[in-house]
């Protein structure tokens, strides 16, 4: 989904990500284990859970929620707006993230798992209630769907032409708690649930209105544009949100209590919440904005009454983890906190430009060149160096971490298929008609034979590439410099062009240049792609020919066929077949999955295992004494 890119846009400065604490050593392991366990463990360790209390939570640097209406246009489609804000109050129909894995979480979903019969999907709602006393009904789902049908193309950030809701022929309530949809086309049930139904957030009927009074978007799609316009307009005054009669109608566990001009957001527990919550839980959840990682870390270290209960450590300050441990030991100044590492569910990559604007497209189009470049990407060194040990090797075109065996082929599970090997990279080039001339690999044997440079590459062509990369991320700057250095050692010249994050995105999406795109060969904005709300990594958005997020304009009919197969069946084998094929084709460069956040949690707070989808559940957090 386009939203996934937006997540990255907003998460760019988060830096880092995580992995389960398998095999932690000593006290740290004990602390991490306690963090991941329930009440029984807390009691077993002599800590008594307490009801209530206020937990303060540090928002990522330079980010704070700016939009409350859970129908985000592309401008507002971000983790901070959705996961850290809207989802606390307005629950999506299906919740993803369970036990640290990006799976559907049935217990936190508003509906039972959808039932598929032919082209018909039936969704049975659970008995949830809105805070105004109304029951959550099928009409609330239809309300959302009609809104999608009316304005998704212009105002829904996750909209993909031909995707949701274009692939839905009809939607209707067939009872108070049952919705039926008729789908166009044939899709696997898992794909439709994970990548399409995952976008729905039911809306209360109290929102079905305009400035002039009640409306009827639930019954008439034609009324929905005006309703959207009204809700969008009242979503534009953060100072009024906490008092708004519209936004105070929630079905989630939290209700907005205040939003100060400094950006401090306070939520009160919703006493009418009808979903599952722990016997013990905090009663107030406070989010605090920060201007920089350093400012947040200073506050974390200073502690005291203004301190944080849940914060994060900048990667540059992170203690290197010992072998086989997920995290290192906290410095003495943070002895009252537990350190855990969180990795987003996504694919870390940098695209190659196969588009017509790329002057080196003939070179980039050669698989042996891309393999040579991948052999020069030293993922292990990047993880041990600039990432301080907080990274995971990306082993293929499906995100490798958290490890989901259902999605990852046995080949991908084996590890890096292209470990650092400059000798092999050199052999690939010299075996295809390239020679060092003046220190730069130059094509001396043009032609399309098996030992020649390849079609479209003329004699004298130099292996000289341009790479855009996003500034502001220390590890990324080190990583691209390392790639440049490694490449130069065997005669590949890479000209690095540092740009602001948004400018790199503009380059790869072609916005900065207009059709037919910009003249880059490689571009790296740091994180690649996170799968949300497209939780199933089928590749149809990233690698299908002409897909919206196929930034490198990679075209491959064989790949298209294999991707289509993954959309029609829930079989892992179809996924693995596509994955193995495309990893062998390297349409993008694979780079380490960097830690998303190094979470510091105060010893007296239990927050459980955090989700790689980046959603948070403070209604399950509790203090101990």
């Amino acid at each position: 989904m386009r939203r996934a890119l937006q997540r990255h846009l907003k998460l760019a400065h988060l830096g880092p990500r995580r992995r389960a604490a398998a095999g932690c050593a000593g006290l740290l392991a004990l602390a991490v284990a306690i963090a991941g366990c329930g009440l029984s463990t807390a009691r077993a360790n002599g800590r008594i859970p307490v009801q209530g209390g206020t937990a303060s939570y540090a928002l990522p640097p330079n980010q704070q929620p700016v939009y409350i209406f859970p129908f985000d246009s592309s401008s507002y489609f971000s983790v901070v707006n959705t996961d850290y804000f809207q989802y606390l109050m307005y629950r999506p129909l299906y919740w993803f993230g369970a036990s640290g894995l990006p799976y559907l979480n049935p217990s936190l979903s508003l509906a039972s798992q959808p039932a598929y019969r032919g082209q018909t999907v039936t969704i049975k709602l659970k008995p949830y209630r809105w805070s105004d006393g109304e029951q959550l009904t099928a009409d609330d789902v239809v309300f959302w769907m009609h809104m999608m049908q009316a304005v998704a193309a212009s105002d829904w950030g996750g909209y993909v032409p031909g995707g949701f809701p274009d692939n839905v022929a009809s939607v209707k309530a067939v009872g108070q708690d049952e919705v039926q949809m008729v789908i166009k086309g044939v899709f696997s049930h898992q794909w439709f649930t994970y990548n399409e139904l995952s976008q729905i957030t039911p809306m209360p009927l109290a929102w079905d209105r305009t400035a002039h009074g009640k409306s009827d978007c639930v019954a008439n799609v034609s009324d929905c544009a005006a309703v959207y316009s009204y809700l969008n307009s009242i979503a534009q005054s953060p100072a009024t949100w906490a008092r708004s009669r519209i936004w105070r109608v929630v079905d989630g566990p939290w209700r907005l209590a205040s939003y100060t001009s400094q950006g401090v957001i306070t939520f009160d527990y919703n006493p009418d919440y009808s979903g599952p919550a722990g016997k013990y839980h905090i009663s107030v959840f406070q989010e605090r904005p920060f201007t920089s990682e350093e400012a947040e870390f200073n506050v974390l270290e200073a502690g005291g009454s203004d301190g944080l209960d849940v914060g994060y450590m900048p990667t540059v300050d992170a203690p290197v983890p010992p072998p086989d441990a997920a995290v290192g030991q906290n410095p003495p100044g943070l002895s009252g906190y537990r350190l855990t590492a969180l990795y987003v569910w996504g694919l870390s990559y940098f695209p190659y430009n196969f588009g017509p604007a790329d002057p080196q497209r003939a070179v980039i189009g050669q698989l042996y060149v891309r393999k040579a470049l991948q052999l020069l990407e030293n993922q292990a060194a990047i993880i041990q160096g600039p990432l301080h040990g907080y990274g995971q090797v990306t082993t293929g075109v499906v995100g490798g971490y958290p490890t989901v065996a259902k999605y990852l082929s046995p080949l991908a599970l084996k590890g890096d298929p292209y470990p650092y090997d400059p000798a092999q990279a050199t052999a690939l080039l010299t075996g295809h008609g390239w020679k060092l001339v003046g220190g730069v690999m130059t094509c001396t044997d043009p032609g399309s034979g098996p030992t020649q440079c390849g079609a479209g590459i003329h004699a004298g062509t130099k292996l000289d590439l341009t790479m855009y990369y996003a500034t502001g991320s220390a590890w990324l700057e080190s990583a691209v410099l390392q790639l440049k250095s490694n490449a130069e050692q065997i005669g590949i010249a890479i000209t690095l062009i540092p740009r602001a994050f948004q400018d790199v995105i503009n380059e790869v999406t072609g916005v900065a240049c207009g059709a037919p795109g910009c003249p880059w060969e490689l571009a790296d904005w740091g994180l690649g792609w996170s799968y949300s709300p497209d939780y199933l990594p089928t590749g149809d958005e990233l690698f299908l020919s002409h897909a919206a997020a196929n930034f490198g304009q990679y075209l491959n009919p064989t790949n298209d066929g294999l991707i289509q197969a993954t959309l029609r069946t829930s079989s892992s084998r179809a996924m693995w077949k596509w994955e193995n094929y495309l990893t062998g084709q390297l349409p993008v460069g694979l780079q380490p999955n960097s830690v998303t956040q190094l979470i510091e949690t105060v010893d007296t707070l239990r927050i459980g295992k955090q989700s790689p989808t980046l959603s948070i559940n403070p209604e399950q957090w509790y203090f101990v004494r």
Partner: protein, 318 residues
């Protein structure tokens, strides 16, 4: 005096108009044009795009667009940020008090300390006091604010827990000023640099004044040292300080980016920097216009200050 002020105000209006034309015109020169610059990747049919067309005259010729925008500005509408989902005016209203409280307090403290320090150094020129003062001023001038701030935080907030590690988070100038515990470290960090600059100028000006004939004459006719210092030396030494104060108004408005970032203060400098990073052009336009106005007003105030400090300065229209 009145004629002078009126003419200077008219001059200021012309300068502001030129600045506004320049910054607005730059939008049309940006890659992708003004629509892309202002809205980023938002679809053309979105509600935001429609509002944008109204506010900035997108789709109209640049002259009409400017006319529409400047008319809105004159009616108090500085535009709307689609990144922040807030009016530029509200962002300004939220960030300006924090920045003013921080920078004006720091400048005030620095000036109050710099004038006696500079005078003392000038009076004891070449002495140990002067040498020590100069060394301290050079150190204050040379030390990067992020380093000084980090050291202060590590010492007084993290280790001793005497003061807060972040700036005041209360709304409004009064709320910020009342939170002295959190205000102290960011003000101190900023004040050290300002103090060093001011004191050096005061010392140099006072040293010059002390060597002037009128000071020697005043002493020769038996004027008391206090009168010589107050009426002859100090008054003439204030000229460079007035210049610095006038020129520092845009800096005060633009905020102190590094200090604001380090101390978690969402002031104007930080807001402006974020807008630049996120290509939030409505915010950039609005804030730059306000800072430009500050620069013009600062220059005007400095001119008036010269006349008050030194009657020999004649206020000539141009």
């Amino acid at each position: 005096m009145v004629t002078y002020l009126v003419r200077r105000l008219l001059q200021a209006v012309i300068v502001l108009a030129l600045v506004s034309m320049l910054v607005f015109g730059l939008l049309w020169l940006l890659p992708g044009g003004p629509r892309h610059a202002l809205l980023g990747g938002a679809p053309a049919g979105s509600a935001g795009a429609a509002a944008l067309g109204r506010d900035y005259g997108i789709g109209s010729p640049v002259v009409l667009g400017y006319a529409r925008w400047i008319a809105a500005v004159l009616h108090g509408n500085l535009g709307y940020s689609y990144v922040e989902n807030a009016s530029v005016g509200s962002l300004l209203a939220a960030s300006l008090p924090r920045t003013l409280a921080l920078t004006v307090t720091a400048a005030g403290i620095a000036a109050c300390a710099a004038i006696p320090a500079g005078l003392l150094q000038a009076l004891r020129r070449g002495s140990v006091t002067d040498q020590l003062g100069r060394a301290l001023m050079y150190a204050g001038y040379g030390i990067p604010s992020f380093f000084l701030g980090s050291v202060l935080i590590a010492t007084f907030a993290v280790r001793l827990h005497w003061l807060g590690a972040e700036g005041p988070q209360a709304p409004g100038i009064a709320g910020v000023l009342a939170d002295w515990r959190d205000l102290t470290l960011p003000v101190l960090t900023l004040a050290v640099l300002t103090l060093a600059i001011f004191a050096r100028y005061v010392r140099a000006a006072a040293t010059d004044s002390l060597a002037q004939d009128y000071v020697r004459t005043a002493r020769a006719v038996g004027a008391r040292p206090g009168r010589v210092l107050g009426s002859h030396v100090l008054r003439n030494s204030m000229i460079p300080v007035i210049t610095l104060a006038g020129l520092s108004i845009p800096r005060i408005l633009a905020g102190a980016l590094v200090v604001e970032s380090l101390f978690n203060i969402q002031g104007m400098g930080w807001q402006l920097w974020q807008a630049a990073l996120q290509r939030d052009f409505p915010v950039l336009l609005g804030f730059i216009l306000v800072i430009a106005a500050g620069a013009v007003i600062g220059s005007l105030l400095a001119d008036i200050g010269y006349a008050i400090a030194d009657p020999r300065v004649r206020l000539r229209p141009w």
